[in-house]
């Protein structure tokens, strides 16, 4: 078993590898071999970069190796919130564009609905937590 610090450092790169490999597998199964190779390559490079950065000092390294103190955890939380807002705005804009183009399939609208439900549910859940 790896020491805790090394395990924490490995957690994010492993997560990136799992998601990236899954996406690449899906692309490969869908017959898009070029995209699959690209995704796999980008995933591996990202995982290595995150692993290397996680070994350095500073706030970013602590966040990347899932070992933040309270201030770094706050930074991570805020960054996550900003990311969610940006994604929500983009999804809303893309849903509007898809409507304007007359498309019946509305994946962006579905994402907006999921985001709104997740937001509401998390508020209801988190307000009861310490």
């Amino acid at each position: 078993m790896l020491p805790t610090r090394r395990r924490r450092r490995a957690a994010v790169p492993i997560g990136v590898m799992v998601i990236g490999t899954g996406l690449a597998g899906a692309a490969f199964a869908g017959g898009v071999q070029g995209a699959a190779t690209g995704i796999l390559l980008a995933t591996m490079l990202s995982a290595v970069a995150i692993w290397i950065l996680g070994g350095t000092g500073g706030d970013l390294a602590a966040i990347l190796r899932s070992d933040p103190d309270e201030r770094q955890a706050q930074i991570r939380l805020r960054a996550g919130a900003v990311t969610a807002v940006v994604l929500f705005i983009i999804c809303g804009a893309m849903a509007g564009r898809t409507f304007a183009q007359g498309d019946r399939a509305q994946p962006y609208l579905d994402l907006c609905i999921v985001a709104a439900l997740a937001y509401g549910t998390s508020i209801l859940w988190l307000k009861h937590r310490r």
């Binding site: 706030d59 602590a62 103190d69 309270e70 201030r71 770094q72």
Partner: protein, 62 residues
């Protein structure tokens, strides 16, 4: 807080290790960019054998 730290001859890194936070967080507290949580503020006050009010009073020059 910087004055209290310097009075005992500690670096920001040493104090961070003693309290389980990063050097950057100690620096952010000292420069007023971050307000510590109550447990951390209490930990700092206990470490310097003083009170939270004395350590973080904005009217005092540190």
């Amino acid at each position: 807080m910087r004055a209290s730290r310097k009075a005992v001859g500690l670096s920001q890194g040493d104090l961070g290790v003693a309290l389980g936070v990063s050097r950057q967080t100690i620096n952010a507290i000292e420069t007023g960019r971050y307000l510590p949580s109550l447990p951390l503020a209490l930990g700092l006050a206990r470490y310097f054998k003083t009170t939270v009010e004395a350590l973080f009073d904005p009217t005092e020059n540190d």
